[in-house]
């Protein structure tokens, strides 16, 4: 549970995500989805409640610790490094993932494996042509991809994606989702998205969050037919 002042943003949410799941989290704007991710990753502290990761209580664990345990997220609103080149950003993330972050002797560019892996990620997301472009000079949609690239660089065990496709054109969001779908099955993925085409195609299980509480949880078909979900979220066009 998390409150902001008197306002209850998430209210006694009990969400269990199975290992290896492809889980989507949907719900009206302001339902508390992003807040929930913030709670899971330690970006916010819960006012009450517990967070467990792979059987371990991480409620009091610092954000970066959770990340090192494999709990990785993307941000709904880009959080990037405006003055770094794309390659630098990703290489930095890779080196952190490999625990090289405190090495100060050998240049980053001299760590061959790191650079190779960063390049591989860029290639996968078709970002290589922009490898030397500064992040700030890229159009919004391409910046969105860097956000994903950084998350992939962290080799997540659990990946929390907050509207990854927002701002990415339909054609490219398809490819983006293929990249995500290609991730090994052990990686658990939680997805927030308002584009129902993507959600229904990708998710194996869906939770609907309304006003800070879980309304229903179930298989996509069930959700698509659920009258309350239609009423508060989907509207008429779907189902």
């Amino acid at each position: 549970m998390r409150t902001f002042g008197g306002f209850v943003a998430t209210d006694h949410v009990n969400l269990v995500v199975e290992p290896g799941a492809r889980h989507a989290l949907i719900g009206p704007n302001g339902a508390g989805k992003t807040t929930l991710i913030n709670l899971l990753t330690g970006y916010l502290e819960p006012s009450a409640g517990r967070v467990e990761l792979l059987g371990q209580d991480v409620t009091t664990m610092a954000q970066h610790e959770r990340c090192r345990q494999g709990l990785v997220r993307t941000f709904q609103i880009n959080q990037l490094f405006a003055d770094m080149t794309v390659l630098e950003s990703v290489a930095m993330a890779v080196s952190e993932q490999r625990g090289l972050g405190t090495r100060w002797w050998k240049p980053l560019a001299g760590h061959g494996e790191v650079v190779d892996q960063a390049a591989a990620i860029l290639e996968r997301l078709k970002l290589l042509p922009d490898a030397y472009e500064r992040t700030r000079n890229l159009a919004y949609g391409r910046q969105r991809l860097i956000e994903i690239a950084l998350a992939l660089a962290m080799r997540p065990k659990v990946l929390l994606l907050d509207e990854p496709a927002a701002g990415v054109p339909t054609s490219e969001s398809q490819e983006l989702f293929e990249t995500i779908a290609e991730l090994p099955r052990e990686v658990t993925i939680v997805l927030i998205e308002h584009d129902m085409n993507l959600v229904f195609r990708f998710a194996e299980r869906i939770s609907v969050l309304v006003s800070g509480a879980i309304l229903v949880e179930g298989a996509p078909d069930m959700i698509a037919q659920h009258p309350r979900v239609k009423e508060v979220y989907l509207g008429e066009s779907h189902g």
Binding site: R73, A82, D83, G101, W104, P107, L108, V115, M154
Partner: protein, 343 residues
């Protein structure tokens, strides 16, 4: 646009990145300058060593500000700790310069380590003020302990022994100059490795977006403490050099003016390039010297004017502007090529 960048193309992309850490010809040229200066200006060794020392001091601030983005208006505190360490050692008969340098860096580093915890939260402005406050308290402390520090009058009569027992500090400051430049170079070289390492890269990340870093598994605070400590130690070394080459320490090593000038020098040269501080130091010290010779009463006016013009027309300091210029030229040629290919 081509989508398949496999094989050779990919390798090409990476070699460019790999090469980015190599020493560039311009850098070699830059480091010839102090050697040239040695022969070109034999009567100005004190000025030259002052440039080297100021450069080192600016470098120390660049590490914490230019890379990690922690702004400080109280860096003189560490400089002063270094200078007084050497001064007090010298006036109590511990005159070996290298030992002094080492201990000065060590003490400054310890003070830096302790005070870094005050800076972990807060905006630029509050950091500015906290660092300033800490430095002012150090200043007051040294001022109050007249018996130990000599107060405003300073600590005269510091004896500094010969370096390695061989090279004596002479009146012309020749030894002092060579010594300062060698120390500067060694520390610069270390700093250069540091900022290009993964650790250095993570500092840049923290500067650009500290909120994002924990989500990449980076313990931001610990990194900041580390670099702040290193920066403080560097500043302490610079202070030690000043005390040794001048054989004199007084309160002004801790003054607000010194911190403010330093910030100015770094920004003038361009923060976040390592060389910015050095170039800023050259320009500032020489300018100061020349202007105050030409027009002693109003040199401040000209300095002010230069600052204003600099900010209006050459933002990002000397190096920043040079970089922008190169980048915009690149863009222009690209645009021209594009125009050529589409039409």
């Amino acid at each position: 646009m081509t989508t398949s960048i496999r094989g050779t193309a990919n390798a090409d992309v990476l070699t460019r990145f790999r090469r980015s850490a190599h020493w560039k010809p311009l850098e070699y040229a830059f480091w010839c300058l102090p050697v040239l200066a040695y022969f070109a200006f034999p009567g100005n060794y004190l000025l030259l060593s002052q440039i080297a020392i100021t450069g080192l001091f600016a470098l120390s601030l660049d590490l914490i500000f230019g890379y990690a983005g922690v702004i400080s208006l109280g860096h003189a505190a560490f400089f002063g700790v270094g200078a007084y360490t050497v001064g007090l050692m010298g006036s109590h008969g511990w005159s070996d310069p290298l030992l002094g340098l080492l201990l000065a860096a060590l003490f400054a580093g310890i003070v830096g380590f302790l005070s870094s915890f005050l800076l972990l939260r807060g905006s630029d402005l509050s950091r500015l003020m906290v660092t300033l406050g800490v430095a002012l308290m150090f200043f007051e402390l040294a001022n109050k302990l007249t018996r130990i520090t000599g107060g405003v009058d300073g600590l005269p009569g510091i004896t500094i022994g010969p370096i390695l027992g061989v090279f004596d500090f002479d009146m012309f400051g020749r030894t002092g100059y060579i010594y300062s430049v060698v120390v500067l170079f060694v520390l610069f070289w270390l700093a250069r490795r540091l900022v290009r390492s993964p650790f250095g890269q993570s500092l840049r990340g923290i500067r650009m977006n500290a909120l994002r870093m924990p989500a990449l598994g980076v313990p931001v605070n610990r990194r900041l403490v580390k670099i702040y400590t290193i920066g403080a130690a560097y500043a302490g070394a610079a202070g030690a050099l000043l005390a040794q080459t001048n054989q004199f320490v007084s309160l002004d090593v801790l003054s607000f003016q010194r911190s403010a000038d330093l910030l100015l020098i770094l920004i003038l040269g361009g923060a976040g390039h390592l060389y910015g501080g050095l170039i800023g130091a050259v320009v500032f010290v020489v300018l100061h010297d020349q202007l105050s010779d030409l027009n002693p009463q109003y040199w401040q006016f000209w300095l002010g004017l230069i600052l204003v013009l600099l900010v209006l027309f050459a933002r990002g300091g000397i190096l920043g502007t040079a970089q922008q210029w190169i980048e915009s030229r690149r863009q222009r040629t690209q645009a021209r090529q594009r125009a050529g290919s589409t039409s």
